[in-house]
Symmetry: C2
Subunit: 211 residues, 2 copies
Amino acid sequence: MKEILAAIWRQNFAGAGCSRESLETELKGCVTGEFTSALAKLEDEGLILLEGGSISLSEAGRKMIRVVVCGGVFDILHPGHAFILGEAKSMGDVLVAIVARDSTVEKRKRIPIVPEDQRVEMVGQLKPVDAAVLGYEGDPLKIIEEIGPDVIALGPDQHHNVEQMRSSLGERRLNVEVRRISEFKACELNSTRSILERIIERNYPNPQGEI
Amino acid sequence: MKEILAAIWRQNFAGAGCSRESLETELKGCVTGEFTSALAKLEDEGLILLEGGSISLSEAGRKMIRVVVCGGVFDILHPGHAFILGEAKSMGDVLVAIVARDSTVEKRKRIPIVPEDQRVEMVGQLKPVDAAVLGYEGDPLKIIEEIGPDVIALGPDQHHNVEQMRSSLGERRLNVEVRRISEFKACELNSTRSILERIIERNYPNPQGEI
């Protein structure tokens, strides 16, 4: 039943609303047609609210699933990203990727190669990711307040001070668990930096038109 | 029911075999527990074969689904790739991405930035893709013979001669439809070339350590 609850959350989060039809379309892997009775059961249990054709989770229903967020720049996608996002997804039922704004990244290290709208689109194309959104400049917790996740998954190279983050969350009365993914993915090019270095080294496309 | 048939094909293609348990795990979105009766029905209809715990498609079952392949280098992933793969997937029930070998690409244009094992891994992480495999050097039809697809989807920038391809397929007695995706995805960086150009232009990472 968690699959249905997660799909209801996802569809409402996407902003287009959730109806019986949209839900059935998303869950088309369902073997039998007993979809209506499954929804009725969830309503009886007080886990979902059916109001004028639109479906949402009740507070009790929301508590049945774990929403995880994982932030990053996601400039040029590599297996390290896929690994981190897979680990983050395994911490819950729904994963929202929070993509840093161009302006935020520029202040921290450099202008990203890929513009923010393309970065958010590509992260959203990865299998572990249920939704991808842009963060806000200046206030990293604003998007957390909006999403209301259960878990923030930090990558091994995200140098946030976990204790400080927990205390900021507490000040804003955000009851969110902060977990660090400690493992790295070992592969030849597992960072945007290593990909950029290789491109510069190869000097493509060059005046000889080698591309 | 197509969803189940597609999952059986996919699991057998992945090489680890397909059992009742592995199938049920994959199709966990199913609302009810009537999985066993659904399989029994498919067996009665002669669409699947159950032999000693392993499940496969009969010839008739295989004919119920359309397998699409889409080839490419997929060097640095961008929204153009996601668009093409989404279009290809919409032509059938299962999409296999065929990733060109480093050696094949080198002969045609340049050494890819990202090595073949990482390219195949990342393409396989994209939502429309059910499986990603490397092609063979020298004989582009060998992998087609192995996969046995119904459709080959060509991207708008893949300059194959469609008529020549059809005649080569005919010579090898491969009954495969060749379809071209004519639309391009419009966005700022919609080719590996444009991404490489921007990186060279920005000269990251540079000696000032701006990364």
